[in-house]
Symmetry: D2
Subunit: 298 residues, 4 copies
């Protein structure tokens, strides 16, 4: 069965004149294919998935699957607000060949998203999904948090294989790793706490910053696995600033501007998101100066 | 031009076996038509709009418009995450005859929803909309708040005619009323602060509780307009508990259970929402006991 | 018995060279005595009470009581973290002649401040206090909120006569007024929601902005009581900006700078608070330009 | 110079009939002295410091210093709301022999506690303190967070030697370790993220749970330092539940009940804190069942 491990990039969706720019995306895919990335996530938060229509989502997923190494997994983000829409999109993405789906918690009715409601949601999606399901906890964007008892309960489902935790709550991550079986994989949801998560038992991460620094992110994992903790930690520390720039600080606009600077096609964000301001781009350039996108060394 | 005033019910969407139950909805529409409601809002938070597909949204809106008094306005909630999808749904709803659209702020990329981004979003939607636009501020569900300066700036747009503020932040409501022109209407977004909002200059409200107590909600407005402040306030105080039960306390499941108790079709919620527990239903029944749905008296 | 009504100023504590400046304070007291203020609150949030030692608190309270019209009430803020310290300070302030005490919720152990713990705290303080007790809810500074059921329960205590609610949560204020007896007074805790609170049944307020615009604040109340709602609301709207400047926006430093501009002694804040920056002082001056401190007109 | 390293217990303050129970405290000190604890913190959050008067604080600190091994450091928590009171208490505690002081951020005027204000506060305290200063970041109780740039700036002060970070924000902890010099020590502020903090470079922690499981907490550190990561992590995982019980879940009341169960004197909490309910005590007993307080093994 599919095993969640390694460094994944939750890829940005390339746009041009408001539409998905498939040729530019293909060029990015070719570049990512040559990196140490274990696989890709399409339709993630960094992929502006909420700004895509259902048709676009499926077409985009099919395109990424077709145009990326068939030896490397592609995972699709298929969480929607309703259970029904989530199952429908999950099936569509499974049909076009994804290896697993990453399912975000519903977000709008926060007050009603009790552990019980979330348990019902994920059990039903996992029952219906033709491919393995990965839980996706992203409280900063959703206002909903998946508790340790909830994740532990869901980890018993044979079709739920892991969680991407973007909360950055290291106590919660420890709790999940303490309570779940070893075959349930925990993935860091941001490059800022990758190393700490590995130390606790995470098997990798799906990291916005891996769009631009895939080899460096992978190097943290590789060094960690080799017992080279000091070196791994040193890269983790160095990567913090670039990671913040493409996530909490400037969001998807920061990520896309950084991609443009690092040899990828970043291009437009979709509205209502706004391009990064020129002053911020200058600041970003300084932050990225120390990084060579082609470097595999530590 | 359309003027936003009076009491609106943001109607619940009737479901049966997971699908929209048009006959049951028609029956509800007939009942609401006989009340003092000024109009209806379809596709609001209480209408489980995020749980409906785009096709369902348009078909539902068309049905409500066709089956509700043509002398009374119907407003559709058309806010989506992307500017493009919002404009598309706005146009579709305008085509089926709504009098105005209620446009929620985007929610997922909270960290990027600066005043500037929100201003761009609403200006573009208002430019493109064939019908008047009403701003919809609902921070409890979205995690995004519309500031007084933002609302004031948007109020200058000729096609933006008002705001439904569900924040309950009375200082913000006062600020909006202080800074905007008299032809910009402010609507209370919950029955819990209707009276306070009227005192500051609001022209009405669109209130979950108006699904079940439309005449009583209207009576608050009517008494207020007649200068009968003590009586108006007395109903406002009495209505607080029922209002909380169908909003903050039990959400849409509470509203639908209350509708079943008050002679409307409430029925199912759509998953992942969950039905109200039996114990809570008993508690709800006690709360509603004092109210006669057919009563127009104070 | 003492009845809580009218406009109170929660007076700033005058400092010079780090010590309480009694002569400057006396001068302020003389000015406030000539205004329409119903009374004063000493040792409130605007009085930097947490920055005063216990000895200073009692001495300051005694001084204010001695140097302010004996016909007008003086209330002292006596809330401390421990029940014992609160009772001790309450008794000391009662001995020097205050008419009532304003008791803030404990704040540090937020997670333990359940309704039950808070009920125990206030009951014990009220039992021991020689003077009437006023509850003080200030969640923005304390991180603790007093719920409607808690306040309702406490309102039954014969020595608890009212609440100063600084939450600005108008639904909560409505709930308290709906649930408590008419002899329990509700006071607005900020000038930004004074008018809305009066409309719901509040009897007045204790307002930072009343340090600098006492007559204007009182005028809102006077006009409201005279049924001149439009005029009252107009002053409420006009006062919002000045109110924000001396509270949420710039805090005590803003209040003291404003006092200096309006003919009072503002002077230093105590460390770690910091003086207002020069740029902000210019902005503040513009905000205050429209107000004449000696004006009693509307 | 004093170097911050190892496991410290932020000791509970023993009370009997509302007063400090020195004999019971002496008995606890004798027990802690025989454990692997590196030292003690008096007047911490678990020591109910905000519920103690200034005189009690100094007397208690002197007593602990006199009655605990002179070879092991004692640190006193001396943060107060005002800079002046903090310096005064710092000097008093230094006089009675503490090795360092742990200085909490001011909390009440949250909105004014900018990085600049906090920088001024800590610089002034560090200048005046006769003993080394340790920063104390505890946002859950204070509502104030110390940012990475602030901590980095303060770490340059020759008399500021480290930070106890109780935020549990592992990205922030990583950032501090990345930006500060190696002679600036970072301490985990809770047993729940001790291991993760060690992996990033922390030198130890001051942990509520170390009041009851001092040897086990020390064992995590010892195993980590010996490169026995799997074993260290295993204890970290096992300790999570007990740690939660004496911190986030039941607070000081939970800690004191646990002390009573583990052979220490726990006794009363001071009001307004409330004793643990009987049902919770039963639950706590089950949680603690697996732990032998005298065990030094892993």
């Amino acid at each position: 069965m599919f095993k969640l491990a390694g460094i994944y990039a939750p890829i940005a969706t390339a746009f041009k004149d408001g539409e998905i720019a498939y040729e530019e995306l293909r060029s990015n895919l070719e570049k990512w294919e040559k990196t140490s990335l274990a696989g890709l996530v399409v339709l993630g938060s960094n992929g502006e998935f909420v700004l895509l229509d259902e048709d676009e989502k499926v077409k985009l997923t099919a395109f990424v699957r077709e145009n990326f190494s068939s030896e490397k997994p592609v995972i699709a983000g298929t969480g929607c607000e309703s259970t029904g829409a989530t199952i429908r999109l999950t099936k569509s993405c499974a049909e076009v060949g994804v290896d697993a789906v990453l399912v975000l918690t519903p977000t709008y009715y926060k007050g009603s998203m009790t552990d019980e409601a979330l348990n019902g949601f994920f059990q039903e999606v996992a029952d219906a999904s033709p491919v393995p399901v990965i839980l996706y906890n992203m409280p900063r964007n959703t206002g909903v948090n998946m508790s340790v008892p909830l994740v532990t309960a869901l980890s018993k489902h044979p079709n739920i294989i892991g969680i991407k935790d973007s909360s950055g709550n290291i106590v919660q991550i420890a709790g999940i790793l303490a309570e779940t079986d070893p075959d349930f994989s925990v993935f860091a949801g941001s490059g800022s706490f990758l190393y700490a998560s590995l130390c606790l038992g995470a098997t990798g991460g799906t990291l916005a910053v891996a769009n631009i620094l895939p080899n460096q992110c992978h190097r943290i994992l590789e060094l960690y696995n080799a017992g080279e903790y000091t070196k791994a930690k040193e890269i983790q520390f160095r990567i913090l600033e670039a990671n913040a720039a493409v996530t909490a600080k400037w969001g998807v606009a920061g990520l896309k501007a950084a991609m443009d600077m690092m040899g990828y096609y970043g291009g437009e964000v979709r509205k209502p998101l706004q391009e990064l301001l020129e002053d911020n781009k200058k600041e970003l350039k300084l932050i990225l100066k120390q990084w060579d996108p082609n470097d595999k060394k530590d």
